[in-house]
């Protein structure tokens, strides 16, 4: 959790904005478990609190905790805090174990950095404690593994290669056998990061379930996101549920979410590069009538397609003025 708010205004990141809106749609569907406004929201609010504002206003969530390890920025964060959000100025490793896990929560652990062993331990804490109906989103940066950079910067040409460093940093049990060096960069790195998070959650649940009692706790991936506002990011989103809650889970209808990509593929959030005029022209035709096709004019087809798929979630200011 580096203080990236010094560099980036979260509220201007259009893909992140769209992701936030999509998460909100997911959370809205949790009603079969419990009215969503009774859930506890746990996030990393930074100074912007964009997620807190949206979830409070759109969903009516009342109890919210922001985990923020900002040190000297604390007064500024407090000054920017909207509503009665509780801010915990400790690391997630300290805060997560102390949460009230008897309650259903949704947690968005929106890390700015690439996957680290500490994040896997956070995921393990969540999986070891979550009650049925709790939802977790884990976002990590996936430009390139720091091990690739470390291997490049090593003065020693015989220093350990990136993959060896990666395996050593995470431990051999955590890194899938088939991972190759080019899996440590770009979207493949995102895929590996999500797989490692899922495996860590599965390992924690294996311990939790090995008490011989029926009614296992399980984890189901709802969807995965890939997006890029400058830095490539990926999010794993899933729900914990007990066997006895399968019907409740089905009632949530997560498979009916409009933005899901076919075949369970990650949802790639594009940021269409359109002018204001093009934007308005497309918007006036949406949602498309059955069987109708978009009138494009001079708008590039690919950009128009992105827009038509995502316009409900994109911010109005995602306009490239030329």
């Amino acid at each position: 959790m580096t203080a990236s708010f010094r560099r980036i205004d979260y509220s201007l990141r259009p893909a992140k904005y769209a992701e936030r809106r999509m998460l909100s749609e997911v959370f809205r569907r949790l009603r079969p478990f419990q009215p969503v406004e009774e859930y506890l929201y746990v996030g990393f609010g930074s100074v912007w609190f964009s997620d807190f504002i949206l979830f409070h206003k759109a969903l009516g969530i009342r109890d919210m905790i922001s985990i923020e390890q900002a040190g000297k920025a604390a007064p500024r964060i407090i000054a920017n805090k909207p509503f009665r959000i509780h801010i915990d100025f400790r690391s997630s490793s300290k805060v997560l174990p102390e949460l009230d896990w008897k309650r259903r929560q949704f947690l968005w652990l929106d890390y700015d950095d690439p996957l680290s062993p500490a994040m896997l331990l956070d995921a393990r804490t969540v999986a070891g404690n979550a009650t049925s109906g709790t939802v977790v989103a884990l976002s990590v940066q996936c430009m390139r593994s720091p091990d690739v950079t470390a291997a490049e910067l090593d003065d020693d040409p015989n220093g350990p290669p990136a993959l060896v460093r990666f395996r050593q940093r995470f431990g051999r049990e955590r890194v899938p056998q088939e991972v190759q060096e080019d899996d440590l960069m770009g979207w493949p790195y995102g895929t590996v990061s999500r797989a490692m998070l899922v495996a860590e959650i599965a390992a924690a649940l294996a311990v939790r379930n090995s008490n011989g009692k029926p009614d296992e706790m399980k984890f189901k991936t709802i969807c995965e996101f890939e997006y890029e506002d400058g830095a490539k990011m990926t999010t794993l989103l899933g729900i914990f549920y007990r066997d006895s809650d399968v019907t409740t889970l089905e009632q949530c209808g997560f498979d009916k979410l409009e933005f899901l990509a076919p075949g369970g593929r990650p949802v790639r959030i594009p940021v269409p590069k359109l002018t204001t005029r093009e934007f308005r022209s497309l918007e006036s035709q949406l949602p498309l009538k059955d069987g109708a096709e978009l009138e494009l004019g001079e708008i590039p087809a690919a950009e128009a397609k992105f827009f038509a798929e995502m316009y409900r979630y994109l911010p109005n200011f995602a306009v490239i003025e030329s």
Binding site: N158, P176, V207, N209
Partner: protein, 450 residues
Amino acid sequence: MSDIVATPQISAEPTKAFFVEMLTRDIPLEQAILDLVDNCVDGAKRAPKPGAMPFDGYWVTIQLDKERFRIVDNCGGFGTDTAREYAFRFGRPAGTPRTANSIGQFGVGMKRALFKFGRHFVVRSATSTETWSVDVDVTKWESESGWHFPWKPFAGDETIATDKPGTEIVVTDLRSEVAFRFATNNFQNLIAGLIKSKHRQFISGGLRISLNGAHLDATNLYLIEKQGLSSGADELVFEEDGQAKVTASIIVGVGISSSPREAGWYVVCNGRVILEADRRPVTGWGLVEDEANTIMIPSFHNQFARFRGIVSFDSEDSSRVPWNTTKTDVDQDSPVWQKTFARMVEMMRPVIDFLNELDADIDEHTREHSPLLDFITTSTIQTKPESLPKKSSFAAPARGAIIKGPKTVKIQYSRKIDDIDFLQDALGVSSAKAVGERTFDLVLKRQRGE
């Protein structure tokens, strides 16, 4: 007194359930799986192929998931006599025929693994002349009197038969905690990593091992050998009357990789890796000479990241090599270990001294300009320890013996982050280090009037 004599004898016979529980507690789950692989290796050792690839053509297949564990091999199988008299006995009775240089010598590995995994197991085996099968429902067996396992008719199939000798073990009705762990990717990765490393020699010798369909290759160790730098090696032989000979070969040297996690001692018994990259006092690290309180060998520190030590014990009688019963550590009380250990420490010292010299050289010249670091990292030849001579002394260049460029000294200082950031932008460089170097170069140029 007469009253007591008249009553029946006090029973101290263990219940089977207690026995099973005790047996399974003292071994981690992953080691129990390695034990079963060890048994396969022993099968292959009974009929090695000639040449450098003694295990060529032999294979072991492991499948594990939430429902069952299965291991199959084509390593020769074992006969009904062995099954009846030895294989299922708890402990190894005197007179048991032994496989030379075996690695499954304690007579508990298979049973312990079977009981550890689940409540129902089937073992089938075929040699070139006979076949047999055993089917045990553990819960039922525990409630019955007697210590026998029931035979079951052998059903031949395409994997095992007299023309395809081998053994198959299937455990079902897995214990809850075992089933959940078997199902996780992390556990499967752990097993794959352990087999690659612990059975490295057998895989290099041609044994093919697969886990859930994925082929496992060996993790290899390499040492630097070049003109002026060569590993130390020695071989000790322990012979006592009436006991099988033990040889201990020790190799110390400098590794190719500067990764601290690979540094330390590797202890190998009859080909099976017992300790990997060990950096504990058990293998000499942090050894303090008692009387003078002088340090013989320092505790491990990252400057020793290139230290590699390999000690391999071999004996036809596997009870003579110094390992513990779970093959997870050395038996420190073994006289063979103690004598070898003393020699290990002696051989370690020159390597540690050299690595200290290397560290000092890097301190003086920086990593970029250290002649000694340059010497060991350029045009080095990777050598497998197996191909080294049996006896030789460790040799390395002295500091200062290699001259490279003018003498340099490292500068280190701190300044405010804001100021460094400012200069980084102004000079168009990408790190604090570069800011320091660039500003130095600029001032030097100006002052010299260049």
